[in-house]
């Protein structure tokens, strides 16, 4: 995972609530065996609408997206995070995220930042003309107008994001503990071994 600690630039002011994973990347784009190139299909149905923010030159290359409640609800497809990253987005700010999306975002160094609706409303306004700054170290979102919104983040996730930690590599350091658990499991619940079919 690539390390990330700051994101600054324009933000797509999307604002809608319940943006689901089929909106972020429709199923037809999932027939890939690669992580790359999914930006082309990102937000396809929103981009089909004339005058949408994604095709507005004002926001070209924006690294941030602002959305409403329950962003990323629906499917577990990590393609949603890959597609957003491929589009050049490094952070999403919303009042809430689906649990699976927020995990997928984290695994790909995409910041999923939770702020209250009042802060979202203010950022939506600023985003139309100015840059937004996100600092993971200080856990703040700021604007050129002295707005300063603090956000919460799980300390483990923060550490992994800032240091670009390979989570599998980290877990593999616990291999011995996993072996101990497996041995105890075989003794306590031997019926858990599936019958071969």
């Amino acid at each position: 995972m690539k390390a990330i600690s700051r994101v600054e630039g324009r933000a797509y002011p999307v604002g809608l609530k319940n943006i689901d994973t089929d909106v972020i990347i429709p199923a037809v784009w999932l027939k890939t065996i690669s992580r790359a190139g999914l930006g082309k299909g990102a937000f396809e149905s929103l981009r089909a609408v004339p005058g949408n923010v994604f095709d507005d030159p004002e926001y070209a290359g924006a690294p941030i997206l602002i959305a409403g409640d329950n962003f990323g609800c629906g499917s577990s497809r990590e393609h949603a995070a890959w597609a957003m990253a491929d589009l050049g987005i490094s952070a999403v700010i919303a009042p809430s995220f689906s649990d699976i999306f927020s995990g997928n975002a984290f695994k790909n160094g995409l910041l999923a930042i939770v702020l209250p609706q009042a802060a979202i409303d203010r950022l939506m306004e600023v985003a139309r003309t100015y840059d937004i700054h996100i600092d993971l170290e200080t856990q703040t979102v700021t604007t050129p107008f002295q707005d300063r919104f603090e956000f919460e983040i799980d300390p483990f996730r923060k550490h992994c994001l800032i240091n670009g930690v390979d989570e599998i590599g980290l877990t593999l350091k616990s291999s011995d503990a996993i072996s101990v658990y497996e041995a105890k499991l075989s003794a306590d619940r031997p019926w858990l071994a599936p019958n071969p079919v």
Binding site: K17, A27, L30, S76, E78, S98, N104, N108, F156, L172
Partner: protein, 476 residues
């Protein structure tokens, strides 16, 4: 005496390998289901890092999302090639990756093949008290057996393949208690649609939901799987139903389930899992069965639920301004006008299938309505996609296939099909589908497709009437 615990707490505590100071736990995964869509990049990651699959014996691979549901073998018994090159490539990747990493693979022409969430319980691979993951959000389904089951992304698929664990933090717990007696024509699907309407699409976020109460206890395992399947549609990553004698009777004798002395030991353990008296949940929601009618969705979020007797809502009637905007966009996409009676909405397509409603009980419920009837002339496309080859066989043994084909339905091969339209089964743009699937998102069943989520019996009733219909008017 120890502190009373919920079912969720018991399963969680039994799977902690390590706990860090910040509360993050390394959780052991007992069962991992793998399908072709969310796994290729995970296997590629393992290969690139020179890593192996730690526990291939706890992993089961089945293709389901991309498979066409038309005939799979030609008249000489040879497999028919997949026409879509991208689908073929993804299916071939799984067929190659499974043996390379020593994983049991059920191929597309095996009678055991089906939707992962139908195959797991059917094979006895999914068991109470276990942790089950799959790169698919409807993994919550297996919670109907009393397993802690949830969807994961591809990075987590790779993590589980490599370590048989996940780094997780404990969720909050919610009890959704459904008491009373279901009214005529009301099925498990109506119960879960109603719950989704009450909680909202994000109502269960951050929670694991345990479904309790007399209604849940009285449901078959199939019905419980239907309910838990849609936990994700009200935002909960996992749903749970406490295992009981109904559960044990369902599992006993299934191929991969414990047998002999192991069976007795397993049942003894499973009996200890139910939530202790006095244990508390972070949130409790009570639902009266008498309030649940045969239900249908009107919009593009599963929370947009109405009784079939309802009328299309006026967006300005919602208190939340963002919901007003969402409702306006939904109605525009759905081509609906506020005030229209749901029973006046014509449908051109019927889909009976998906991991929510493709088990034998679902097919029986639909066939019961269709027996001796035909689909209406305006219904252009009506398909039944059984959840697995074994469900299909059983339905054929019971003569259900004939009832469907006599009514004008196509009888298909198993897979995910028109639930998400990754295979050729799609609903044409601008047309409506009464669908037994789980999501009515924009474009879910094909670009521009308009989905109305319903139960199998309601889908059958809509086929007969050519419009959304109250199944109670047609009950045999």
């Amino acid at each position: 005496m120890s502190t009373p615990q919920t079912l969720y707490e018991k399963i969680w505590n039994a799977h902690v390998v390590e706990q860090r100071d910040d509360g993050t736990c390394l959780i052991f995964i007992d069962r991992h289901l793998v399908h072709e869509v969310t796994s290729p990049q995970a296997f590629e990651g393992l290969r690139a890092a020179g890593r192996r699959v730690r526990r291939p014996d706890l992993t089961l691979a089945v293709p389901d999302h991309n498979l066409p549901t038309t005939a799979r073998l030609d008249s000489h018994g040879q497999p028919i090639p997949i026409a879509d090159p991208e689908s073929a490539q993804q299916l071939e990747a799984l067929e190659r990756n499974a043996p390379e990493f020593g994983i049991k693979y059920i191929n597309a022409t095996d009678a055991k093949q089906g939707i992962v969430h139908v195959v797991g319980p059917e094979q006895g691979f999914s068991l109470p008290g276990t942790t089950i993951v799959c790169g698919d959000s409807h993994t919550a389904c297996h919670g109907g057996l009393g397993a802690l089951a949830f969807g994961i992304g591809t990075s987590e698929v790779e993590h589980v393949l490599a370590t048989q664990t996940l780094q997780l933090t404990r969720s909050k717990s919610m009890e959704v208690r459904v008491e009373g007696e279901l009214r005529a024509g009301v099925s498990a699907k109506d119960v879960v649609l109603h719950i989704t309407g009450v909680l909202g699409a994000a109502g269960g976020s951050g929670h694991v939901i345990e479904y309790t109460g007399s209604v849940i206890r009285a449901l078959s395992v199939e019905g419980r799987l239907t309910i838990s399947n849609m936990a994700i549609e009200h935002g909960a990553r996992a749903g749970l139903v406490a295992p009981d004698d109904t559960t044990f009777a369902y599992i006993k004798g299934r191929p991969m389930a414990p047998s002999g002395a192991n069976w007795d030991a397993a049942v003894a353990y499973w009996r200890t899992l139910a939530t202790d008296p006095g244990a508390t949940y972070d949130k409790v929601v009570s639902i009266d069965a008498a309030d649940i009618a045969p239900s249908v969705t009107w919009g593009t979020s599963p929370e947009d639920v109405l009784p079939i007797t309802g009328i299309v809502p006026d967006p300005s009637a919602f208190a939340d301004p963002s919901k007003q905007e969402a409702a306006r966009k939904s109605l525009d996409y759905m081509g609906l006008t506020p005030g229209t009676r749901m029973t006046d909405i014509e449908v051109q397509n019927i889909f009976i299938g998906s991991c929510t409603n493709s088990r034998i009980e679902d097919l029986r419920a639909a066939a019961e309505i269709l027996k001796g009837r035909k689909k209406a002339a305006n219904v252009k496309w009506a398909i039944v996609v059984p959840g697995s080859g074994l469900v299909k066989q059983q339905a054929e043994d019971e003569g259900l296939d004939r009832i469907f084909t006599d009514a004008g339905f196509e009888w298909r091969e198993p897979g995910c099909s028109a639930c998400l339209g990754m295979n050729p089964d799609k609903v044409p743009a601008g047309e409506r589908c009464a669908s037994t699937s789980n999501r009515n998102f924009v474009g879910r069943q094909g670009p521009g497709a308009r989905t109305h989520l319903v139960s199998p019996a309601m889908a059958a009733a809509a086929a007969v009437a050519g419009k959304l219909t109250d199944v109670r008017a047609l009950a045999n």
